[in-house]
Amino acid sequence: MTSLQTPDDVGAAERFSRWADRNRKWLFAGPSIAFTALLLAIPLGWTLYLSFTDAKRSVRRDFDFNGLENYLGVLTDTERFWPSVWRTFAFTAGALTFELILGMIIALLLWKPFRGQGVVRTIVLLPLVATPVAVGMMWRLLFEPNIGFINEMLSWVGIPPQPWLADPSTSLATLTFVDIWQWTPMVALILLAGLTSLSDEPQEAARVDGANGWQRFWYVTVPLMRPVIIAAVLLRGIDALKTFDILYATKGKGGGAFHDVETLNVYAYGLSFDYNEYGVASAVLILFFLIILAVIWVLQMQRKGRES
């Protein structure tokens, strides 16, 4: 600015131009931010609205407000809702635990450069590339108790055929395994990125001090990797909570005949598309949304808590 101009001297167009200039990052990103916000906010708002009504059979019909009736009904439903909450957490916890452990092992193995590492990394990533529905159908065939290949392989080593997906007591565990098979590579990738960004000095210092491999890992690597681990847990955990594709592709409507793999997402889908109970389904979805928000909040607290 070569000369000072008082505010009175500045015309409206010039004022706007300067404002736009200062806030150009918002102006240019504005349309897409607005679009994304609407894309998220409108369905969420509509679902919230529906959850307070008795909408059913068709959204084109008239429906009335029924206040908190849907929520009360859902929260007191010990037959379908609470078991599905329990199953959602059991599935997520089981899958996440093994994905973290196996992912960390794979990341550690791939950490130091070695010959053929490109090929190995590609092979490790393959399960990630397949579409979840195709994965679901493939495993469904593999696990078929009578003609599936898994039982065939077991018979070669003398183990009797297992029911896998056909038995309600083993189906959720089997599907947890399928999830681990598919998503461990992603967790491994995230952890590997974290490992490669670590500097060598703490490791060297620990080695000089006489720490063995395990001590170095547990007392040096893991604490330094904490933010990356939490990021991996956050990313994978939220997706695992919402898993739908492999569950629906293998066990179909209602999570199987005995609802043995019915998690919250599968339950809400059934309410919407099989029972046409849109009010109740919306209530379940809003509660599910709140549960996920709570999980994220807890993880964020974890991340901030120890960083200080």
Binding site: R57, S58, E144, A166, G254, G256, F273, D274, Y275
Partner: protein, 437 residues
Amino acid sequence: MKYGSNTVRVLAAASIAAVAAGLAGCSSSPESGAGDGDIEGTTIRVTLANHVWTETIKELIPEFEKETGAKVEISQLAEDQLSDQYNVKLNAGTDEIDVLMYRPLQENKLFASNGYLADMTDMVEGDKKWDWSDFQSGPASLTTYEDEVVGVPIITERTVLYYRKDLLEEAGLEVPTTLEELDAAAAAIHAQHPDVAGYIGRTGKSAAVTQLSAFLYSFGGDWIDDDGKSAIGSDEARSAYKYYGDLIRNHTSATINPEMSWPEAFAVFQQGKAAFIADADSLYKNMTDPTQSTVSDQVGFAPFPQGAAGSKPYNVAAWALAINETSEKKDAAWQFIKWATSAEQTVAMTKLGVTGARTSAWEDGDAIADFPAELVEAIKVNGENGVGHDRPLVFQVSQAREIVGDPIVTAIAGGDVDAAVDSADKAFDAFLAEDSE
């Protein structure tokens, strides 16, 4: 480049304007339908289900396109996915679908009361040459809602007993005519061939309901009694559930897949691993087609065996064609339906193995010439004895099927059927009270 320079400003404004215009142009404008009568050049969008009828009509559609100059765009899905599609698209009031193939027993009440289906009464009654009265009365009544005709039935089916001729002969048995004989035959064949299941049937909670109905009616039971209350708690119904569960469980050494619908159950029979299966006769081509079935030359067909109350299979319209209420091409849609369900087309389809709903097609000796003779016999007998519904006829059929199908799953697994029936009976009563609102 300085931000303030004029060139940059003009360029920025121009590019934003161009993008905005492009976005506006991107939104698809709805296709305008052609005028009434002449449908040349119109595209009719038809959604169909995986079925013998669909495979057959796909081969004949080029004739329609040549005749009328219209184009037919087909979208084909399996029945569960189709239902989900309808739920989403029709709920949203889409005009993307003109003709839809739907299940009158499953969806007629729901779709019609939701206003999804166009009123075809004037169309069907107006065309004397096409002749609405030629359609069998049972199926025709299933596609009517509150005195308005909302669909045209295209497939009828009855429960037929498919059986393996060679296995039966080997065991020295006659074709079973009663349910006791069926049980005994299944036991005998399984004893002779341990890797073959004496009987296979649908085991999925919802899927098995329609096939259980034949057993239910033949034992003397029904889904809903005359007062509109649940009838599944009756002694006859309990016997039916137990019989069905025992029949499937007792005569096989393999693990029973608890989610089988007809494709899975048929696959077991097609691979030669089952001796009997009672299911819809409209699906018979899956059994006799050598490219699908390894036992295609050994398949026999028998009328449904008699129970305590006689032989009472179902005789229903399984599929029908309807016009989407929000379609902008109702006239073109009606012309397609008229063609696909005309007497000539139905005869042509019957010749290719489709079990239609027109009386004239069934009486045409030429048309049914290619059907296996045994099957024609079975169809005649089943047709006479048949009951007009194979599931509870309510609005929320999906939910009803899950409720009344629950004891089936328990029976097949060998659990406490009486307890399951008691709780299902109560749940069904509660459901019926709410559904009729």
